[in-house]
Amino acid sequence: MVPELGQLTLILSFCLCVILGTLPLIGAGTGNRQWIGLARPLTAGVFVFLSLSLLVLGYSFVTDDFSVAFVAQHSNSLLPIQYKITAVWGGHEGSFLFWTWMLSGWMLAVAIFSKAMPDDFVARVLGVMGLIGAGYTLFMIATSNPFDRILPLSPADGADLNSALQDFGFIIHPPSLYMGYVGFSVVFAFAIAALLSGRLDSAWARWSRPWANAAWAILTIGIALGSWWAYYELGWGGWWAWDPVENPPMITWLLGTALIHSLAVTEKRGVFKSWTVLLAIMAFAASLLGTFITRSGLLTSVHAFASDPTRGIYILGFLGLVVGGSLLLFALRAPLMKSEFGFAAISREVFLLANNIILVVASAAILLGTLYPMVYQAVSGGELISVGPPYFNMIFVPLMAILVLFQVVGSISRWKKTSAEYLRRQLGLVAIAAVVLGVVLPLVVTFEFNFGASIATALGLWIILGILQDIRIKISNKASTVSGLKSLAVSYIGMQIAHLGFATILLGASLTSIYSVEKSVLLDAGETVDLGAYDFVFQGTEPVQGPNFVGDRATFQVMKNDVYQRDLHPEKRVYTQSGTPSTEMAIDAGFWRDLFITLGEPRESGAWSMTIHIKPFVRWVWLGAILMALGGVVAVTDKRYRRLRVKTLAGEETARSLKSGADKSAEALQPVSQQ
């Protein structure tokens, strides 16, 4: 009975989404105030009913209702409670419900935090999101219902959650990734609403910016958590593999990064309008493409859900409809988007344009490498190929290096026009210092020249010193350093934190790729293996028993220069229900380096195969991501974005159109009042 309730609320949310996607949009177009006023309550309704659906599914998991097919496939009576709850997003159907619920959460947030915006604009934004929600809920009802039952012959117990997912990373990575992903539909809805209403002005850009920053910051965390989880769970010592399913979030993130920069230009200078709208559409399309790739079964990967061709066709159709429709609207509204080219060849606008081009080219190249195997297979009649990490690195690394060069120059130059002389004066010393330290630092630490390490260090320092120089310029005419620092805008501080985060990732990613070492060996108990400055003494293994697994636990003594450091305990488990083996790494995490041991398998003699890694700077990758996300969040808190309607020309226009809209709706109401 209870699962049917979830089904019912799901259908109700679909109905509400359909109403939300029609009446408020029509109302905003015709000036019908009543219909405009429906947007917020309908949004709340969608959120409530989808929450109920999600709660019902969670309840079915917690109460071990294996008559629900999705629960039977992804849970087991012995599964620990935290995984029973989170198994809701452990498979295709449930995760899509969770995804759709996230959308309704963002919608509710828009409905609540939009007091500064005109009601007709909010109605349009929520209406567009309602249409997206209608597409998602219909998809679930038609092709992937999480409440499908196995009746009357329900299984006595479930098949268990995939053992690779039974981990803390699984509790936090999917929610944050989904939340970031879905967040870009808000920015998309803002762009479509702007196209519909014809108000592509700086007010629109100002309203969009906090949402774009928030979605971007959360997506950053989501991707970083995925990378961290893959690092400690999958056990091959890597933190990024250019896996076809990792790529779409990365593409979305790169487009999102371009978008938050382009929005800044549109807000401050009123240019790049059409480009910003295009980016918002592209970022949203990339998030849909990610859904398509994971859920169509076209690709093999850790992330792929079991395949069903109708789902792929539906998502592809939806993607085509959304992108095609948006581009059509974009083309129809193109005359509205005239921007004046009021800037010189050396100006912040130009450097931000370069930033955007590089980011879009990088995402296009990743998209090409991700889709190429699928296209090749279709064209060649079934021949299979794969595109490996060398391709992605060959494209991505040089592009990011160029991006960094522009990044510092861009943030130090001024809007409209900057003289080359000014840039030389402000950045000459910074550049020299970065290059000299870039060569010297790695040399001093490792006694060895490494070209890649020098370039990476120089680029990282270029950003860091550039930030310091920029702040110095900003506060140089203030009375004291403290009052100068206090006078910095919150969004400016956010930007510099995020830029510092980018430098941290750049240093971490490059240096860990260059300086990591690993060794695979076969060891008997009591034997020692040395790697880098460390000795690892293998003490043997002992059996362990968990709630739903059995396994072996090894003990290693880590020595550095003959001084005992600590013990490490990697494990090899077998999950009893499914019989799947799983390797649990042992990691000694540190700011400067990680030590990392994975167990292979035992030989008949009692010896174990194992791999030992030393990974310098690997933590910097995630530390950098945290800084970037923090920067995004700090920028969102800037009060400037929540100021009530600013008196601009555009604002007056809105007031006028609202007034005429109100008149029209008054007319529309007349017959009713006469009755």
Partner: protein, 155 residues
């Protein structure tokens, strides 16, 4: 030409140049890092030139896995049930590697033996990798062609 037109044109030229350089580089990089996929039958038929980096896929033949007691060396047979391919690997096999299950390996063929640089196993119980599935389907088609339809049940 009006100055703002010229400026616009310059920017468009700038973008177009950047894009075409990027596309050119991408295609060049792509042509150098594509791994073709082969089935054991294709390898047996000599379709792979030796030294070429490829991927192979098939089922791990029951009872074929042999591990060295002194080193990490391991050998197993990947089969599509028409032809067998001996795979050699020095390293640790993934968790989900098992006899009778699908496997994909990267490496190169030398003297009819596949020297793997990386071994991937399929990812969960119900899911066979696209590559292994394609290899199995191809092999099945070959068998169906070789044996008249009525007799295939008896074999």
């Amino acid at each position: 030409m009006k100055p703002h037109r010229r400026k616009k044109l310059t920017i468009i030229a700038f973008i177009a140049t950047g894009l075409s350089v990027a596309v050119g580089l991408s295609l060049y990089a792509l042509s150098n890092s594509i791994d073709l996929f082969f089935t054991p039958t294709q390898v047996a038929a000599g379709e792979v030139s030796s030294g070429q980096r490829i991927r192979i896929g098939g089922m791990v033949k029951e009872g074929s896995v042999a591990r060295s007691e002194e080193s990490l060396h391991v050998e197993f047979i990947a089969t599509d049930y028409n032809n067998d391919l001996l795979v050699r690997y020095d390293g640790i096999l993934p968790d989900l590697f098992r006899e009778g299950q699908g496997v994909v390996a990267e490496g190169m063929v030398a003297d009819g033996v596949f020297q793997a640089s990386r071994v991937l196993a399929k990812h969960d119980e119900n899911y066979m990798s696209v590559e292994v599935k394609a290899a199995m389907d191809a092999a099945e088609r070959d068998r169906a062609d070789a044996v008249p339809a009525g007799e295939s049940n008896g074999s």
